[in-house]
Symmetry: C2
Subunit: 180 residues, 2 copies
């Protein structure tokens, strides 16, 4: 008889995705440099910005006479803004890391770059103004007796630290915007 | 007879390069955005930086007691640096425009971006510090009688203007560095 016989072609099982069996996170794409949104480095930068700006805010607000100096008032506003922005982006980073989602999107990167640019510039400007006044009071006029120089210096230093960890976020976002 | 005859294929003359006959400058490459080194816009930015920083320097140095305030001393140093840097790059831009040479080279762009970043950050920091002190003296303490508030304000404003025309240079260089 010449009846047709079903031909069986053995099909190889597709190779398992690397690391899928032992719960390793999927490999990042080449361009996801540490420090960018959605990476552990990016989350670290955001949390550092948040902590430094919070300490700066608390120290400045705790001094009784910060209200009489315009620059110190502006510092409080700027570090508050930096604080809220960094907290928001830290939450977004945690979400992206938990659901393993990439935040590399042109619109998101642009919003992040603009926001980082504005907040870091404001923080830097007010920190510089506060530093100028603190040095004037402490060194040029030697009037630390009636003023809270230590508090002003600490708040200014913390604001500078907040700017220093905010700058890499801005530069990385701007870089990734340009290279897209 | 069946002798071979040379076939003559008329060849069109190659078209003349556009503008080669009437001495028009060669067209810029697509990526040479105005404002980048070696362009007329870039030269304009450099000359603006030079003029604003020079005016800021002259006004600040002309006040007799600027020496007693640390922030004003730093402003003088920062705008001097900005001044020299901008003049150097303006000369380089004029040279590049005269000999019609492109300054789009990875090393040159990197040096320009780093230099612009440093000078503009210093100018901005010292301008902010001077602004903080000027506002403190003029508004918070109302002590303009014995001080040269107008001069301090002018010098600070000029330093800010110098920073404002320095920032596009930095951002354009950084952008072109990232997109190379």
């Amino acid at each position: 008889m010449n009846a047709s016989q079903p031909a069986v072609h053995p099909v190889e099982a597709p190779p398992l995705r690397e690391g899928a069996m032992n719960n390793e996170p999927p490999r990042m794409r080449m361009k996801d440099t540490q420090g960018m949104p959605g990476t552990v480095g990016g989350l670290g930068l955001r949390l550092s910005q948040f902590v430094f700006s919070l300490v700066s805010l608390c120290v400045m607000v705790s001094t009784p006479d910060f209200n009489s100096v315009t620059a110190f008032n502006h510092l409080v506003v700027a570090v508050s803004l930096q604080n809220v922005w960094s907290l928001f982006l830290a939450i977004l980073d945690i979400y992206a890391l938990l659901v393993r989602r990439s935040l590399r999107n042109y619109l998101i990167t642009r919003v992040f770059a603009i926001g980082d640019g504005i907040t870091s510039t404001l923080t830097f400007a007010t920190a510089s103004a506060s530093a100028g006044i603190t040095v004037l009071v402490a060194n040029d006029l030697n009037k630390c007796a009636g003023n809270h120089c230590a508090s002003f210096e600490s708040a200014t230093a913390m604001a500078f630290l907040s700017w220093m960890v905010s700058l890499p976020s801005f530069l990385l976002n701007f870089w990734s915007l340009a290279s897209q």
